[in-house]
Symmetry: C2
Subunit: 124 residues, 2 copies
Amino acid sequence: MTDTRDEGLILDPRYDKDGLITAVATDQATGEMLMLAHMNAEALALTVETGIAHFWSRSRQALWKKGETSGHALHVEDIRIDCDQDAIWLIVRPHGPACHTGRRACFYRRIVGDRLEWVDASER
Amino acid sequence: MTDTRDEGLILDPRYDKDGLITAVATDQATGEMLMLAHMNAEALALTVETGIAHFWSRSRQALWKKGETSGHALHVEDIRIDCDQDAIWLIVRPHGPACHTGRRACFYRRIVGDRLEWVDASER
């Protein structure tokens, strides 16, 4: 199914019933997947306007300027949207660890069978 | 907030109220973000077991083995899960275009202000 959302140049994000769109951030320098979070319309607008990643915290039900307390902001170099406009890809320069655990990125474990394994830093 | 989901090696995906978890796929060779979709427990189990990406189609409300009709399967090289186990990262070898529009990847437009722009193939 292809419609105008797929082929046009009109920004028309497809927010879910909670008013959110999924956003992923990758490191511009390494390509590493840093984190996945959600944005409401305000967070997306602020991200576009300021060049600093803003999200919507579902747990806190609040606008979340990443790094506001930690200092670990994500500086946005490029913002992409997918075919049906229900996903955002941020290409960023991270200032410090992106993960709340203090790690550079959130995806530090792999699934192997029915267990997890730590990913070596060298593999990231 | 750090809990056992963050620091353990027990696979315990945090499915949402619809029984789904978000999954993104990147190209192993280029690092390009290919697509974002969703998995239920069965899709995740089949992906782990077969090494071929399976998703849950929310529009069709059906298990979706990507490439089953198009032939454009994603061969999974690595499966990562994030800190709070509510997001999956597939590192894949795509066989053919990942996007339903026939493009290599779904993120072929960037957000610039309140408009979209096409991304040059050379920038991807």
